[in-house]
C-alpha cells in the first residue's frame, strides 16, 4: 500500500433552500430562538461542518448498498462484511464504503487486511467570498427565522404549544467546498467515482435537519470541468 496521490475535489455548495445544521444549543437566552444554526466562533458566520457532509454522504451510500436492514440502522463496520446472505455486489460496495469512510476499531485485523486507512477527508465549508460581498452590498441577512406549527386535525387550527421558531441559512448563499481523497494504489481510482456518486445522492436528498420538509437542498458546482461533467452525467439509479 503506497500513497500515490491525494486528489482534491474543490468547488462550491449552493443552497437551493434554507439550510438548518443545528448548533446543539447548550444554553438558553431569554427571547432567543429555539433552534439556532452552527456558526463560526470568531466570525459568527454560518458554515457547513465537514462532519455533516461526511455523515450524510456515508449514510446515503449505505442506504443505496441495501445493507442497512442487516446492520440494524447502525453505521456499516468491517465486521458486517462477514454477514451471511450478502450478495457479492453488496460486499464490494460495503468494502468501498469502509475504505472511503473508515470503520470502528473493533475489527482491526480485518480493516488492516482489506481496507487500510480512511481515504476521504471533508473540510469545513466556510462562506464564499462572493456570497460575503453580496450579503454586504445588498444588506441581506445571513440567518432567516422560520416559524412552524402543527395543525390540530379536528379544529383545523394551530395546536396549542406547537409554535416553534427555527433558524436557517437562506437559499442562494454559497460555501467553499473541498474534499481530499487519498489514493493508496491503482485500485483506489474507482473510489473517486464512488465518492462522486455519494455527493450526487446528497444533491438528490438533503443536508442538515428537516430534509423531508424542504430544508437543505443543495447543488454542487465543481472547479474542475471534467469533474463537473462527470458529476452531471451520474445517474445513480439507472
Amino acid at each position: 500500500m503506497q500513497l500515490i496521490d491525494i486528489k482534491e475535489i474543490k468547488g462550491k455548495i449552493v443552497l437551493k433552500s434554507g439550510l438548518h445544521i443545528g448548533a446543539g444549543d447548550t444554553e438558553m437566552h431569554i427571547g432567543g430562538i429555539d433552534n439556532t444554526v452552527v456558526r463560526h466562533p470568531h466570525t459568527q458566520e454560518p458554515y457547513i461542518p465537514g462532519s455533516s457532509i461526511k455523515g450524510k454522504v456515508r449514510s446515503l451510500l449505505e442506504m443505496k448498498s441495501g445493507v442497512m436492514y442487516r446492520t440494524g440502522g447502525a453505521p456499516l463496520q468491517a465486521k458486517h462484511l462477514d454477514l451471511e446472505g450478502l450478495e457479492d455486489e453488496q460486499r464490494i460496495e460495503c468494502l468501498k464504503i469502509i475504505k472511503l469512510f473508515g470503520s470502528s476499531g473493533a475489527d482491526a485485523e480485518k480493516i488492516a487486511k482489506f481496507a487500510g486507512p480512511t481515504r476521504v477527508s471533508f473540510a469545513d465549508c466556510f462562506m464564499s467570498e462572493e456570497s460575503r460581498e453580496r450579503v454586504r452590498e445588498e444588506r441581506l441577512t445571513l440567518f432567516e427565522i422560520k416559524s412552524e406549527t402543527a395543525i390540530d386535525r379536528i379544529s383545523g387550527t394551530a395546536k396549542s404549544g406547537s409554535l416553534r421558531f427555527v433558524e436557517r441559512v437562506p437559499a442562494d448563499i454559497k460555501f467553499d467546498f473541498a474534499v481530499g481523497l487519498k489514493m493508496l494504489g491503482e485500485e483506489d481510482k474507482e473510489l473517486f467515482d464512488y465518492l462522486l456518486l455519494g455527493l450526487k445522492l446528497l444533491e438528490m436528498d438533503a443536508l442538515g435537519g428537516s430534509g423531508s420538509r424542504g430544508y437543505g437542498k443543495i447543488e454542487f458546482v465543481f472547479e474542475n470541468e471534467d469533474v463537473e461533467k462527470k458529476f452531471k452525467n451520474i445517474k445513480p439509479f439507472s
Binding site: 500500500m1 503506497q2 500513497l3 491525494i6 482534491e8 443545528g22 448548533a23 446543539g24 447548550t26 452552527v38 463560526h40 466562533p41 470568531h42 466570525t43 458566520e45 461542518p49 465537514g50 462532519s51 461526511k54 455523515g55 450524510k56 449514510s59 449505505e62 442506504m63 442497512m68 436492514y69 446492520t71 440494524g72 440502522g73 447502525a74 453505521p75 469512510f101 473508515g102 470503520s103 470502528s104 476499531g105 473493533a106 475489527d107 482491526a108 485485523e109 480493516i111 488492516a112 487500510g116 486507512p117 480512511t118 476521504v120 477527508s121 471533508f122 473540510a123 469545513d124 481530499g180 487519498k182 493508496l184 430534509g211
Partner: protein, 344 residues
C-alpha cells in the same frame, strides 16, 4: 543538524494542539506511505532514532508583525512568577502584590526574529494583547468581521450525532447526540514551526511537501471531518539560536529530558496519552502507553556546557505501543539557550 522555520496558516478548527511530538508522528505516517521523503526509507531512520534523530519538530508558535519587525510569541517560561516578574529594589511591596494577578495573565513571551532570548529585557503579553498584535496585521475585512473578539484562540463545542440508517434521524444509545471540543485561531494567524533536520536523511523541501499534505488532509483529531486544515507559507533556514554565556534552556516542544544532565528543572508535567494515527487509529490497541513529558515552555539548567553543543535536548521514547513495536515518540525538542540569573 540545520534549523528551519516553516510557516503554517491555519484554515479550520483544530482538535489536537500543534505540538512537536504530534507533528513528528504525522511526518512519520507521511514517510511510511512515501519512501522518497527519507533517504533509505522510514524504517532505517526509525531504527537509529534513539542515537541519531533525523528530524526534531518544535510546537507551532504565533509569529506576528509589530511595527515592521517580526516577533514570535512563545509560552511564558514555566519559572516561578517571583523570578519572572521580580520587583526592583525600592518597589512598593503593596503594588507588587497587587500586580501579581495581572502578571499571571501574561501567558506569552515576545521574542525577536533572531531567536535571541534576553531574559532581562523580555516582554510578556496577555492573550488579549497577543490578539491585538495579530489583529494589527490582519486585512481590513477580517478586522471588520472580528469586531469584539477578545481571544487569540477560542474554544468551541460542536454537537455531533450518528444517523440511524433505518430512520435517517438521531435517536437513543449510539445515535444520541454528543459534543466535541475544538479550537480556532484568530483568522489570518501565522504560526511558526521550527524543524531541526539531519540533511543526511532529508531536506526542507521534502519536509515542507509532507507538511503540505498533512495540512490538506487534516492534522490530529477529527481530520476527516474538517479539523486540522492549514496552508504552508514560506520556509527559511535560520541560524542555530545562541546566547552570551548561557546557563539555561527554554524548550520549544514537549520533552523527555535525559536523566542526570540537568541540576535544576522548571516545568509543567504533560502526560501524552498518545493514540496511533492512520490505519492504526482503528486498530484493536490504538492507544500508546502514556508518556510523561515536560511541557513546552520548560526551563532546564544543565550541569555541563556540553549540553549547548547539540541543538536539541531530550531522548526518544521507545516501547510505547502494543500494535506497532517500532513506534517511537519524539521526546526531543529544540531549545533557546539563555542566561538565567538567580539568587540561590
Amino acid at each position: 543538524m540545520k534549523l528551519y522555520e516553516i510557516i503554517i496558516k491555519p484554515l479550520s478548527a483544530f482538535g489536537t494542539p500543534l505540538k512537536g511530538d504530534t507533528l513528528f508522528g504525522h511526518f512519520c505516517w507521511q514517510a511510511a506511505y512515501d519512501p522518497s521523503l527519507l533517504n533509505g526509507g522510514l524504517d532505517k531512520w526509525i531504527a537509529c532514532y534513539q542515537e541519531k534523530p533525523f528530524a526534531v519538530f518544535s510546537s507551532a508558535w504565533p509569529k506576528f508583525d509589530d511595527d515592521g519587525k517580526f516577533f514570535y510569541a512563545f509560552k511564558r517560561p514555566d519559572l516561578p512568577l517571583s523570578l519572572l516578574f521580580a520587583p526592583s529594589a525600592g518597589d512598593d511591596k503593596r503594588k507588587t502584590f497587587e500586580g501579581r494577578k495581572e502578571n499571571k495573565k501574561k501567558k506569552w513571551m515576545k521574542v525577536k526574529e533572531g531567536l535571541l532570548l534576553d531574559f532581562k529585557s523580555v516582554e510578556y503579553l496577555t492573550d488579549k494583547e497577543l490578539m491585538e498584535k495579530v489583529r494589527n496585521q490582519a486585512t481590513d475585512d477580517t478586522k471588520r468581521i472580528m469586531r469584539g473578539e477578545k481571544y487569540f484562540c477560542s474554544e468551541f463545542t460542536r454537537q455531533h450525532n450518528t444517523i440511524n440508517r433505518m430512520t435517517m434521524t438521531t435517536g437513543e444509545g449510539m445515535f444520541a447526540p454528543f459534543t466535541e471540543t475544538s479550537f480556532f485561531y484568530y483568522p489570518e494567524t501565522e504560526l511558526a514551526v521550527f524543524a531541526l533536520i539531519d540533511e543526511e536523511a532529508t531536506d526542507i523541501g521534502r519536509i515542507c511537501a509532507a507538511m503540505e499534505k498533512i495540512g490538506k488532509f487534516g492534522f490530529g483529531k477529527d481530520a476527516s471531518t474538517g479539523c486540522g486544515r492549514f496552508d504552508i507559507g514560506e520556509d527559511s533556514e535560520l541560524e542555530l539560536p545562541s546566547a552570551d554565556s548561557p546557563n539555561a534552556c527554554y524548550m520549544l516542544a514537549p520533552t523527555v529530558p535525559e536523566a542526570g544532565r540537568f541540576y535544576d528543572h522548571y516545568f509543567i508535567p504533560f502526560v501524552r496519552f498518545g493514540k496511533h494515527g492512520d490505519v492504526l487509529a482503528t486498530s484493536e490497541n490504538p492507544f500508546k502507553n502514556p508518556v510523561v513529558m515536560a511541557d513546552e515552555g520548560a526551563v532546564f539548567m544543565p550541569k555541563s556546557e556540553n549540553v549547548f553543543k547539540k541543538p536539541y535536548i531530550g531522548r526518544a521514547v521507545l516501547n510505547t505501543s502494543k500494535s506497532m513495536k517500532q513506534t517511537v515518540v519524539q521526546g526531543y525538542a529544540p531549545y533557546l539557550p539563555f542566561r538565567l540569573e538567580m539568587k540561590i
